[in-house]
């Protein structure tokens, strides 16, 4: 009895505090936040027309696309962005042979130590090395990029909502501001050293537009249009973020198939064991 009475008093007291001191002022000031007149940020990502080969429960890598994406990374992105969780040996998953991977790694320069003097130096990469950062350290990265550090790209497609399409959208987002929006906010301008991108969360991004038609030349005859390069790099970065993506889904089918069978057997044994116990339906 005491507990119930105490409970009622505490409950009413707490509710009164909540309603009088928190809800009442809130309601008095109640006004939906006004949307700014000019709001160019496109939160909804766009996707390539035909989508990506690895989407859906049975999707697999388009290895040729991943190779093209790697080429875009190597020839464009790598100038500023590291890929520190990926090793050259991982490229074997993109259907490069061991010898090709060895040659590919050797084409990169990685930090090393001079075995004679112990001084820091550089050496050609080995398959076991990870992709090197283009900058010595964060200070150098900031200094070279208008005070913005180019982020590591290994996990980019998992570190953003709907990440694969986000990378694609960002690559495609360098457009001119909508004249109608601009008319509403004539004072809006993109600051010096930043670039307007409607898919970047604060509209102005420190990265200059990189993908221009024929920025790379694909050896497999694919047209190096901005759309194709954007899709290829988005696919490649999906692989770097989750190399096990396809293996995971394929394992999943096997596991779920087994579990469906096992659960069916479990259901039958449950029904058999209980057969005598349940009353007959009238």
């Amino acid at each position: 009895m005491t507990i119930r009475l105490g409970g009622i008093i505490v409950g009413l007291g707490l509710t009164a505090v909540l309603l009088l001191w928190s809800l009442l002022p809130g309601v008095l000031n109640f006004a939906l936040p006004e949307k700014p007149d000019y709001y160019a940020f496109q939160e909804e990502n766009i996707a390539p027309e035909e989508g990506f080969s690895f989407e859906g429960p049975v999707g697999t890598w388009d290895v040729a696309q991943l190779q093209r994406g790697y080429q875009v990374y190597k020839e464009v992105c790598a100038a500023c962005h590291s890929l520190k969780y990926v090793a050259f040996r991982n490229l074997e998953e993109l259907a490069y042979t061991e010898a090709e991977v060895r040659a590919e790694a050797a084409a990169w320069t990685v930090p090393g130590i001079n075995p004679e003097t112990g001084e820091t130096t550089t050496r050609p990469g080995l398959p076991t090395d990870q992709f090197p950062s283009p900058y010595q350290n964060d200070v150098a990265a900031r200094a070279a990029n208008n005070n913005a550090i180019p982020p590591d790209l290994s996990l980019m497609t998992k570190a953003r909502k709907d990440g694969t399409n986000y990378v694609y959208s960002l690559m495609m987002g360098y457009v001119d501001p909508d004249p109608a929006d601009q008319a509403l906010s004539p004072e809006f301008e993109t600051p010096e050293g930043l670039y307007f991108n409607e898919h970047f969360y604060n509209i102005n991004i420190a990265m200059a537009p990189q993908l221009t038609p024929d920025r790379v030349s694909y050896s497999d005859g694919t047209e190096a249009s901005v759309e194709n390069m954007a899709a290829d790099i988005a696919a490649f970065l999906t692989w770097t973020a989750e190399p096990s993506l396809v293996e995971r889904k394929q394992t999943g089918w096997f596991v779920i198939g087994f579990l469906l069978f096992a659960t069916f057997l479990a259901f039958l044994s449950y029904k058999q064991i209980w057969a005598g116990m349940k009353p007959k339906k009238k």
Binding site: G11, Y201, I273
Partner: protein
């Protein structure tokens, strides 16, 4: 323990006879979860979740121990080490996704288990101790899950740790000292990560210990059942094995199908993308949100937006009110056995209680979960304030009053009657 007609373990081979004399472990298992534990014959699928919760605990411990073999609790390397597990350890991705989604599924199971308890009043005498131990397990789970989320040392790990440890700073006088002591510094750092890892490894075994007490306490009165009528005679029960082992086996299969679907096809859906960015104390994420299973309590924390003040004097600051509200929202469960005094247990026979459960408590929890994940903007703040108010009213005011004024529906004479539609009351039951 339990009922007079419970079957006793009978060792048959010389070895089991010898074992039974020296260490009657098979006898213990037989009486606890074997044919020697009589269980009401009318349990529905809501009674599967106890066994499932036990399975989740084992799953988390097994995957967690394997992950711990490859992890390093040092802020310099923790994030990279997690990626090492994902990329270089054989099936490391599967272990980590199973562990992360396993935590979510553990909470789904435990919430269903708790709400089963609410609806069927499983907390009522003679089962108060089972309920109290259950709330202790839930609190331990929350602590364990929170510290586990810090270990990958992503952005949400760091900022979640900062927000939650910051709550201790709201305690008057000693708060800030306490917070600095708990964290081992002024903000989450290497000391924090190390002690969280240590405790994250320890607490599951503490949980396992309390689970043993929980099951021990359960075996004294025996399991409850959907009618809420206590077991009267042997025909009301069936042996746990094979009847409920087979039913739980089927339930486990269904659970595993849903669980593996998430692990293999949507492993990051319940997580947050920001946690794939390495922790950066200098860059605050736009929205700091806890894992989904904490959202209702996070919404209650944030519902208290105003200082309790009279004539311009702040008596209790809003932050402290929020902390009291959040911890109070779980502590109130400890008092449930004494707040709800209706002699009828099952919600099926309590028309008024049933309405408040389905149209009051359940939608309130859903609103709180949704609002907890949204930014602190109108109208979500007002919504979570109303929901928080109802939450406390439900447990502290509505339940005691309903239990006084409600006229329950007539109960069946026995479980046998509830199942078969008739019970030859009092007449000697012929042995089956």
């Amino acid at each position: 323990m339990s009922f007079a007609w419970a079957k006793q373990y009978e060792p048959k081979t010389p070895f089991t006879k010898w074992m039974d004399e020296k260490l009657p472990l098979p006898r213990l298992v037989y009486s606890a979860v074997g044919a020697g534990y009589p269980v009401p014959r009318n349990l529905n699928y809501m009674w599967n979740f106890g066994v499932l919760a036990g399975f989740c605990l084992v799953l988390q411990i097994v995957t967690g121990v394997v992950l711990a073999m490859h992890y390093a609790s040092n802020t310099e390397v923790a994030f990279a080490q997690t990626e090492h597990i994902m990329r270089n350890v054989s099936y490391g991705w599967m272990m980590r996704y199973a562990h992360a989604n396993g935590a979510s599924f553990f909470f789904i199971v435990i919430y269903l288990h708790i709400f089963r308890g609410f609806y069927f009043s499983s907390y009522k005498a003679p089962r108060e101790m089972i309920w109290l131990l259950g709330v202790v397990i839930f609190l331990l789970m929350m602590a364990t899950a929170f510290m586990g989320y810090v270990l990958p040392w992503g952005q949400m790990s760091f900022w979640g740790a900062k927000v939650i440890t910051g709550l201790f700073g709201a305690i008057p006088l000693v708060g800030e000292t306490l917070q600095t002591w708990l964290v081992g510094g002024f903000a989450p750092n290497d000391s924090t990560l190390n002690r969280f890892f240590s405790l994250h490894f320890l607490l599951p075994f503490v949980i396992a210990g309390v689970v043993i007490l929980h099951i021990w306490a359960l075996h004294i009165p025996g399991s409850s059942n959907p009618t809420g009528v206590e077991v009267k005679k042997e025909s009301d029960t069936v042996p746990f094995h094979p009847y409920y082992t087979s039913k739980d086996g089927f339930g486990l299969g269904v659970f595993l199908i849903l669980f593996t679907f998430m692990v293999f096809f949507l492993p990051n859906t319940l997580g947050h993308p920001d946690n794939y960015i390495e922790a950066n104390p200098l860059s605050t994420p736009a929205h700091i949100v806890p894992e989904w299973y904490f959202l209702p309590f996070y919404a209650i924390l944030r519902a208290f937006t105003g200082d309790l003040a009279l004539f311009g004097v702040t008596l209790v600051p809003a932050k402290l009110l929020g902390v009291i509200g959040m911890f109070g929202s779980i502590l109130v469960w400890f008092f449930l056995p004494w707040l709800d005094k209706s002699p009828v247990r099952s919600g099926n026979y309590r028309p008024l209680f049933k309405k408040f459960f389905w149209f009051g408590l359940v939608p309130t929890m859903i609103i709180l979960t949704i609002c907890g994940g949204l930014p602190a903007e109108e109208p979500y703040v007002v919504l979570s304030q109303i929901a928080t108010a109802y939450y406390f009213l439900h447990f502290l005011v509505i339940l005691p009053i309903v239990s006084q004024i409600e006229i329950p529906k007539p109960l069946p004479f026995s479980i046998t009657e509830a199942v078969l539609g008739k019970d030859d009351d009092g007449a000697a039951q012929p042995a089956e």
